[in-house]
Symmetry: C2
Subunit: 201 residues, 2 copies
Protein backbone atom coordinates (compact mmCIF):
# COMPACT_ATOMS: atom_id res chain seq x y z
CA UNK A 1 0.00 0.00 0.00
CA UNK A 2 2.94 2.36 0.35
CA UNK A 3 3.84 2.15 -3.31
CA UNK A 4 2.19 5.53 -4.18
CA UNK A 5 4.16 7.19 -1.36
CA UNK A 6 7.40 5.67 -2.63
CA UNK A 7 6.55 6.77 -6.13
CA UNK A 8 5.78 10.29 -4.86
CA UNK A 9 9.07 10.31 -3.00
CA UNK A 10 10.89 9.23 -6.09
CA UNK A 11 9.17 11.96 -8.09
CA UNK A 12 10.00 14.54 -5.42
CA UNK A 13 13.62 13.40 -5.36
CA UNK A 14 13.76 13.58 -9.16
CA UNK A 15 12.31 17.11 -9.08
CA UNK A 16 14.86 18.20 -6.47
CA UNK A 17 17.72 16.74 -8.52
CA UNK A 18 16.34 18.38 -11.62
CA UNK A 19 16.08 21.76 -9.87
CA UNK A 20 19.59 21.60 -8.43
CA UNK A 21 21.08 20.53 -11.77
CA UNK A 22 19.18 23.33 -13.55
CA UNK A 23 20.41 25.82 -10.99
CA UNK A 24 24.00 24.71 -11.56
CA UNK A 25 23.41 24.92 -15.31
CA UNK A 26 22.44 28.58 -14.80
CA UNK A 27 25.62 29.15 -12.73
CA UNK A 28 27.71 27.71 -15.57
CA UNK A 29 25.78 29.71 -18.19
CA UNK A 30 26.46 32.95 -16.32
CA UNK A 31 30.22 32.40 -16.67
CA UNK A 32 30.69 30.28 -19.80
CA UNK A 33 27.57 31.19 -21.75
CA UNK A 34 24.73 28.79 -22.47
CA UNK A 35 26.91 26.94 -24.95
CA UNK A 36 29.09 25.92 -22.01
CA UNK A 37 26.08 24.09 -20.55
CA UNK A 38 26.60 20.50 -21.66
CA UNK A 39 25.55 17.20 -20.12
CA UNK A 40 29.25 16.22 -19.83
CA UNK A 41 30.24 19.43 -18.09
CA UNK A 42 27.42 19.21 -15.54
CA UNK A 43 28.14 15.52 -14.90
CA UNK A 44 31.80 16.33 -14.12
CA UNK A 45 30.95 19.36 -11.94
CA UNK A 46 28.26 17.59 -9.92
CA UNK A 47 29.78 14.10 -9.77
CA UNK A 48 26.69 12.58 -11.40
CA UNK A 49 26.74 10.15 -14.32
CA UNK A 50 26.09 11.59 -17.76
CA UNK A 51 23.31 9.04 -18.22
CA UNK A 52 21.66 10.26 -14.99
CA UNK A 53 21.55 13.83 -16.34
CA UNK A 54 20.48 12.62 -19.77
CA UNK A 55 17.58 10.71 -18.15
CA UNK A 56 16.40 13.84 -16.33
CA UNK A 57 16.85 16.32 -19.20
CA UNK A 58 17.13 14.40 -22.47
CA UNK A 59 19.29 16.79 -24.47
CA UNK A 60 21.70 19.68 -24.25
CA UNK A 61 18.93 21.96 -25.48
CA UNK A 62 16.54 20.84 -22.70
CA UNK A 63 19.30 21.49 -20.21
CA UNK A 64 19.83 24.98 -21.65
CA UNK A 65 16.08 25.65 -21.47
CA UNK A 66 16.10 24.48 -17.83
CA UNK A 67 18.99 26.88 -17.15
CA UNK A 68 16.98 29.75 -18.66
CA UNK A 69 14.01 28.83 -16.44
CA UNK A 70 16.27 28.60 -13.36
CA UNK A 71 17.61 32.06 -14.19
CA UNK A 72 14.09 33.41 -14.52
CA UNK A 73 12.95 31.77 -11.26
CA UNK A 74 15.89 33.27 -9.36
CA UNK A 75 15.18 36.71 -10.85
CA UNK A 76 11.53 36.52 -9.80
CA UNK A 77 12.42 35.32 -6.27
CA UNK A 78 15.22 37.81 -5.66
CA UNK A 79 14.01 40.91 -7.51
CA UNK A 80 10.33 40.87 -8.43
CA UNK A 81 8.57 39.18 -5.48
CA UNK A 82 10.16 41.26 -2.66
CA UNK A 83 9.50 44.49 -4.59
CA UNK A 84 5.76 43.72 -4.62
CA UNK A 85 5.76 44.51 -0.87
CA UNK A 86 6.44 48.15 -1.75
CA UNK A 87 3.52 50.51 -2.41
CA UNK A 88 2.57 50.55 -6.09
CA UNK A 89 3.90 53.44 -8.13
CA UNK A 90 7.31 55.05 -7.98
CA UNK A 91 8.37 53.37 -4.68
CA UNK A 92 7.84 49.93 -6.26
CA UNK A 93 9.59 50.93 -9.50
CA UNK A 94 12.55 52.24 -7.47
CA UNK A 95 12.64 49.04 -5.39
CA UNK A 96 12.77 46.97 -8.59
CA UNK A 97 15.68 49.04 -9.92
CA UNK A 98 17.48 48.94 -6.53
CA UNK A 99 17.23 45.16 -6.41
CA UNK A 100 18.30 44.89 -10.04
CA UNK A 101 21.45 46.88 -9.23
CA UNK A 102 22.02 44.76 -6.10
CA UNK A 103 21.94 41.74 -8.39
CA UNK A 104 24.77 43.33 -10.39
CA UNK A 105 27.04 44.21 -7.47
CA UNK A 106 26.23 41.01 -5.53
CA UNK A 107 25.00 38.70 -8.27
CA UNK A 108 23.18 35.50 -7.39
CA UNK A 109 24.99 33.83 -10.29
CA UNK A 110 28.81 33.73 -10.33
CA UNK A 111 29.02 35.31 -13.81
CA UNK A 112 26.51 38.09 -13.06
CA UNK A 113 23.21 38.71 -14.84
CA UNK A 114 22.93 35.73 -17.04
CA UNK A 115 20.08 37.07 -19.18
CA UNK A 116 22.22 39.81 -20.75
CA UNK A 117 25.00 37.41 -21.67
CA UNK A 118 22.63 34.73 -22.93
CA UNK A 119 20.60 37.15 -25.06
CA UNK A 120 23.62 38.46 -26.92
CA UNK A 121 24.98 34.90 -27.22
CA UNK A 122 21.77 33.65 -28.86
CA UNK A 123 20.51 36.78 -30.62
CA UNK A 124 21.67 35.48 -34.02
CA UNK A 125 20.68 31.83 -33.36
CA UNK A 126 16.96 31.20 -33.95
CA UNK A 127 15.45 28.27 -32.05
CA UNK A 128 13.76 27.26 -28.78
CA UNK A 129 16.55 28.61 -26.54
CA UNK A 130 16.46 32.03 -28.16
CA UNK A 131 12.65 32.00 -28.00
CA UNK A 132 12.78 31.22 -24.26
CA UNK A 133 15.32 34.00 -23.64
CA UNK A 134 13.30 36.52 -25.62
CA UNK A 135 10.09 35.52 -23.80
CA UNK A 136 11.83 35.88 -20.42
CA UNK A 137 13.31 39.27 -21.34
CA UNK A 138 10.02 40.56 -22.81
CA UNK A 139 8.06 39.40 -19.74
CA UNK A 140 10.40 41.30 -17.43
CA UNK A 141 10.28 44.48 -19.53
CA UNK A 142 6.48 44.25 -19.84
CA UNK A 143 6.17 43.81 -16.06
CA UNK A 144 8.38 46.84 -15.43
CA UNK A 145 6.45 48.94 -18.00
CA UNK A 146 3.18 47.98 -16.30
CA UNK A 147 4.52 49.14 -12.90
CA UNK A 148 5.57 52.42 -14.55
CA UNK A 149 2.03 52.79 -15.98
CA UNK A 150 0.64 52.29 -12.46
CA UNK A 151 2.94 55.08 -11.25
CA UNK A 152 1.70 57.30 -14.09
CA UNK A 153 -1.92 56.55 -13.15
CA UNK A 154 -1.02 58.10 -9.76
CA UNK A 155 0.43 61.18 -11.48
CA UNK A 156 4.09 60.09 -11.19
CA UNK A 157 6.61 60.08 -14.11
CA UNK A 158 4.45 62.42 -16.21
CA UNK A 159 5.10 62.71 -19.94
CA UNK A 160 7.34 59.64 -20.05
CA UNK A 161 6.85 56.85 -22.62
CA UNK A 162 6.90 53.70 -20.42
CA UNK A 163 8.28 51.45 -23.19
CA UNK A 164 11.07 53.91 -23.94
CA UNK A 165 11.91 54.30 -20.25
CA UNK A 166 12.01 50.53 -19.78
CA UNK A 167 14.23 50.07 -22.83
CA UNK A 168 16.62 52.72 -21.53
CA UNK A 169 16.69 51.34 -17.96
CA UNK A 170 17.36 47.84 -19.28
CA UNK A 171 20.12 49.07 -21.62
CA UNK A 172 21.88 51.01 -18.87
CA UNK A 173 21.63 48.30 -16.20
CA UNK A 174 22.77 45.62 -18.66
CA UNK A 175 25.78 47.72 -19.72
CA UNK A 176 26.67 48.23 -16.05
CA UNK A 177 26.49 44.48 -15.54
CA UNK A 178 28.89 43.82 -18.42
CA UNK A 179 31.31 46.51 -17.14
CA UNK A 180 31.13 45.09 -13.59
CA UNK A 181 31.95 41.59 -14.86
CA UNK A 182 35.01 43.06 -16.60
CA UNK A 183 36.04 44.60 -13.27
CA UNK A 184 34.98 48.21 -13.90
CA UNK A 185 32.80 49.16 -10.91
CA UNK A 186 32.79 52.86 -11.85
CA UNK A 187 30.16 52.12 -14.51
CA UNK A 188 27.72 50.90 -11.85
CA UNK A 189 27.95 54.36 -10.21
CA UNK A 190 27.42 56.05 -13.60
CA UNK A 191 24.48 53.76 -14.36
CA UNK A 192 22.90 54.51 -10.96
CA UNK A 193 23.16 58.25 -11.63
CA UNK A 194 21.47 57.75 -15.02
CA UNK A 195 18.59 55.62 -13.66
CA UNK A 196 18.07 58.09 -10.78
CA UNK A 197 17.84 60.91 -13.34
CA UNK A 198 15.41 58.90 -15.49
CA UNK A 199 13.16 58.10 -12.51
CA UNK A 200 13.18 61.71 -11.28
CA UNK A 201 11.98 62.99 -14.67
CA UNK B 1 68.62 38.86 -57.78
CA UNK B 2 64.81 38.60 -57.76
CA UNK B 3 64.69 36.61 -54.56
CA UNK B 4 63.80 39.63 -52.40
CA UNK B 5 60.86 40.43 -54.73
CA UNK B 6 59.64 36.84 -54.54
CA UNK B 7 59.97 36.90 -50.80
CA UNK B 8 58.05 40.20 -50.66
CA UNK B 9 55.34 38.71 -52.86
CA UNK B 10 55.12 35.69 -50.59
CA UNK B 11 54.86 37.99 -47.56
CA UNK B 12 52.21 40.10 -49.26
CA UNK B 13 50.22 36.99 -50.22
CA UNK B 14 50.48 35.71 -46.64
CA UNK B 15 49.26 39.04 -45.28
CA UNK B 16 46.29 39.03 -47.69
CA UNK B 17 45.36 35.46 -46.69
CA UNK B 18 45.73 36.39 -43.06
CA UNK B 19 43.49 39.44 -43.47
CA UNK B 20 40.78 37.54 -45.35
CA UNK B 21 40.81 34.68 -42.83
CA UNK B 22 40.65 37.17 -39.94
CA UNK B 23 37.75 38.95 -41.63
CA UNK B 24 35.86 35.66 -41.98
CA UNK B 25 36.68 34.88 -38.34
CA UNK B 26 34.94 38.16 -37.40
CA UNK B 27 31.91 37.19 -39.56
CA UNK B 28 31.69 33.86 -37.72
CA UNK B 29 32.18 35.55 -34.32
CA UNK B 30 29.30 37.96 -35.02
CA UNK B 31 26.89 35.02 -35.40
CA UNK B 32 28.34 32.19 -33.32
CA UNK B 33 30.34 34.14 -30.77
CA UNK B 34 34.13 34.13 -30.54
CA UNK B 35 34.05 30.59 -29.18
CA UNK B 36 32.69 29.51 -32.55
CA UNK B 37 35.92 30.75 -34.14
CA UNK B 38 38.03 27.61 -34.42
CA UNK B 39 40.76 26.59 -36.86
CA UNK B 40 38.60 23.64 -37.98
CA UNK B 41 35.53 25.78 -38.62
CA UNK B 42 37.44 28.34 -40.68
CA UNK B 43 39.22 25.62 -42.65
CA UNK B 44 35.85 24.07 -43.59
CA UNK B 45 34.22 27.42 -44.43
CA UNK B 46 37.11 28.68 -46.56
CA UNK B 47 38.25 25.40 -48.12
CA UNK B 48 41.76 25.81 -46.70
CA UNK B 49 43.68 23.12 -44.85
CA UNK B 50 43.70 23.28 -41.07
CA UNK B 51 47.48 23.22 -41.14
CA UNK B 52 47.48 26.24 -43.49
CA UNK B 53 45.43 28.25 -40.99
CA UNK B 54 47.48 26.93 -38.08
CA UNK B 55 50.67 28.10 -39.86
CA UNK B 56 49.26 31.60 -40.29
CA UNK B 57 47.70 31.96 -36.84
CA UNK B 58 49.18 29.36 -34.52
CA UNK B 59 46.30 28.87 -32.11
CA UNK B 60 42.56 29.34 -31.64
CA UNK B 61 43.33 32.24 -29.32
CA UNK B 62 45.46 34.01 -31.95
CA UNK B 63 42.64 33.51 -34.43
CA UNK B 64 40.16 35.03 -31.95
CA UNK B 65 42.52 37.97 -31.38
CA UNK B 66 42.78 38.44 -35.15
CA UNK B 67 38.96 38.42 -35.35
CA UNK B 68 38.79 41.15 -32.67
CA UNK B 69 41.31 43.21 -34.64
CA UNK B 70 39.37 42.68 -37.89
CA UNK B 71 36.22 43.86 -36.10
CA UNK B 72 38.01 46.94 -34.84
CA UNK B 73 39.50 47.71 -38.29
CA UNK B 74 36.06 47.47 -39.93
CA UNK B 75 34.56 49.74 -37.26
CA UNK B 76 37.28 52.34 -37.80
CA UNK B 77 36.92 52.19 -41.61
CA UNK B 78 33.11 52.26 -41.69
CA UNK B 79 32.25 54.50 -38.75
CA UNK B 80 35.14 56.55 -37.40
CA UNK B 81 37.15 57.57 -40.49
CA UNK B 82 34.24 58.94 -42.59
CA UNK B 83 32.89 60.87 -39.59
CA UNK B 84 36.18 62.77 -39.32
CA UNK B 85 35.17 64.61 -42.51
CA UNK B 86 32.39 66.32 -40.52
CA UNK B 87 33.15 69.58 -38.68
CA UNK B 88 34.32 68.93 -35.14
CA UNK B 89 31.74 69.31 -32.40
CA UNK B 90 28.10 68.23 -32.45
CA UNK B 91 27.96 67.55 -36.24
CA UNK B 92 30.81 65.04 -35.92
CA UNK B 93 29.30 63.43 -32.78
CA UNK B 94 25.95 63.11 -34.61
CA UNK B 95 27.68 61.62 -37.67
CA UNK B 96 29.37 59.01 -35.45
CA UNK B 97 26.04 58.06 -33.89
CA UNK B 98 24.30 58.00 -37.29
CA UNK B 99 26.92 55.66 -38.70
CA UNK B 100 26.79 53.52 -35.60
CA UNK B 101 23.03 53.09 -36.07
CA UNK B 102 23.56 52.38 -39.77
CA UNK B 103 25.89 49.58 -38.71
CA UNK B 104 23.01 48.12 -36.68
CA UNK B 105 20.35 48.25 -39.38
CA UNK B 106 22.76 47.30 -42.18
CA UNK B 107 25.56 45.59 -40.30
CA UNK B 108 28.89 44.93 -41.98
CA UNK B 109 29.00 41.61 -40.10
CA UNK B 110 26.22 39.04 -40.61
CA UNK B 111 25.51 38.76 -36.86
CA UNK B 112 25.50 42.52 -36.24
CA UNK B 113 27.78 44.46 -33.93
CA UNK B 114 30.24 41.87 -32.88
CA UNK B 115 31.77 43.90 -30.07
CA UNK B 116 28.62 43.79 -27.94
CA UNK B 117 28.22 40.06 -28.30
CA UNK B 118 31.92 39.33 -27.75
CA UNK B 119 32.15 41.56 -24.67
CA UNK B 120 29.29 39.80 -22.89
CA UNK B 121 30.61 36.44 -24.05
CA UNK B 122 34.04 37.09 -22.52
CA UNK B 123 33.20 39.41 -19.63
CA UNK B 124 33.65 36.58 -17.08
CA UNK B 125 36.66 35.00 -18.83
CA UNK B 126 39.94 36.78 -17.98
CA UNK B 127 42.71 36.44 -20.58
CA UNK B 128 44.18 38.01 -23.71
CA UNK B 129 40.91 37.89 -25.71
CA UNK B 130 38.97 39.69 -22.99
CA UNK B 131 41.83 42.20 -22.64
CA UNK B 132 41.74 42.90 -26.39
CA UNK B 133 37.95 43.35 -26.36
CA UNK B 134 38.08 45.66 -23.36
CA UNK B 135 40.90 47.70 -24.96
CA UNK B 136 38.91 48.01 -28.21
CA UNK B 137 35.72 49.01 -26.38
CA UNK B 138 37.54 51.50 -24.13
CA UNK B 139 39.34 53.06 -27.09
CA UNK B 140 36.04 53.64 -28.91
CA UNK B 141 34.34 55.14 -25.84
CA UNK B 142 37.38 57.34 -25.11
CA UNK B 143 37.38 58.56 -28.72
CA UNK B 144 33.68 59.41 -28.55
CA UNK B 145 34.11 61.16 -25.18
CA UNK B 146 36.93 63.24 -26.66
CA UNK B 147 34.72 64.33 -29.57
CA UNK B 148 32.03 65.28 -27.04
CA UNK B 149 34.61 67.33 -25.11
CA UNK B 150 35.51 69.15 -28.35
CA UNK B 151 31.80 69.94 -28.79
CA UNK B 152 31.67 71.26 -25.23
CA UNK B 153 34.74 73.44 -25.86
CA UNK B 154 32.57 75.08 -28.57
CA UNK B 155 29.72 75.60 -26.12
CA UNK B 156 27.66 72.59 -27.26
CA UNK B 157 26.19 69.92 -24.92
CA UNK B 158 26.58 72.17 -21.86
CA UNK B 159 26.41 70.64 -18.38
CA UNK B 160 26.74 67.07 -19.66
CA UNK B 161 29.28 64.63 -18.19
CA UNK B 162 30.99 63.24 -21.34
CA UNK B 163 31.80 59.87 -19.72
CA UNK B 164 28.21 59.45 -18.55
CA UNK B 165 26.84 60.45 -21.96
CA UNK B 166 29.16 58.02 -23.72
CA UNK B 167 28.22 55.19 -21.37
CA UNK B 168 24.52 55.87 -21.96
CA UNK B 169 24.88 56.14 -25.76
CA UNK B 170 26.83 52.87 -25.86
CA UNK B 171 24.30 51.10 -23.63
CA UNK B 172 21.34 52.23 -25.73
CA UNK B 173 22.93 51.50 -29.14
CA UNK B 174 24.14 48.08 -27.94
CA UNK B 175 20.68 47.17 -26.63
CA UNK B 176 19.17 48.23 -29.97
CA UNK B 177 21.69 45.99 -31.74
CA UNK B 178 20.71 42.97 -29.63
CA UNK B 179 16.99 43.67 -30.21
CA UNK B 180 17.56 44.05 -33.95
CA UNK B 181 19.37 40.72 -34.10
CA UNK B 182 16.37 39.12 -32.40
CA UNK B 183 14.15 40.64 -35.08
CA UNK B 184 12.69 43.54 -33.10
CA UNK B 185 13.30 46.65 -35.23
CA UNK B 186 11.02 48.83 -33.07
CA UNK B 187 13.84 49.10 -30.51
CA UNK B 188 16.09 50.81 -33.08
CA UNK B 189 13.46 53.56 -33.41
CA UNK B 190 13.20 53.86 -29.61
CA UNK B 191 16.99 53.97 -29.31
CA UNK B 192 17.23 56.68 -31.98
CA UNK B 193 14.68 58.79 -30.09
CA UNK B 194 16.73 58.38 -26.91
CA UNK B 195 20.08 59.29 -28.50
CA UNK B 196 18.46 62.30 -30.24
CA UNK B 197 17.16 63.44 -26.86
CA UNK B 198 20.58 62.94 -25.25
CA UNK B 199 22.36 64.89 -27.99
CA UNK B 200 19.84 67.73 -27.86
CA UNK B 201 20.35 68.21 -24.11
Amino acid sequence: MNEPATSDQRLAKGARSRASIARHAADVASVEGLNGVTIGRLATDLGISKSGIATLFGSKESLQLAAVKAGRDAFVTEIITPSLNEPRGLPRVRALIDRWFAHITEPFFPGGCFRTAALTEFDSKPGPVRDALVADHSAWLAFLAEEIRKAQAQGELPGVDPDMLVFELDAVVSAANTARQIGDDTKVTLARAITDRLLNA
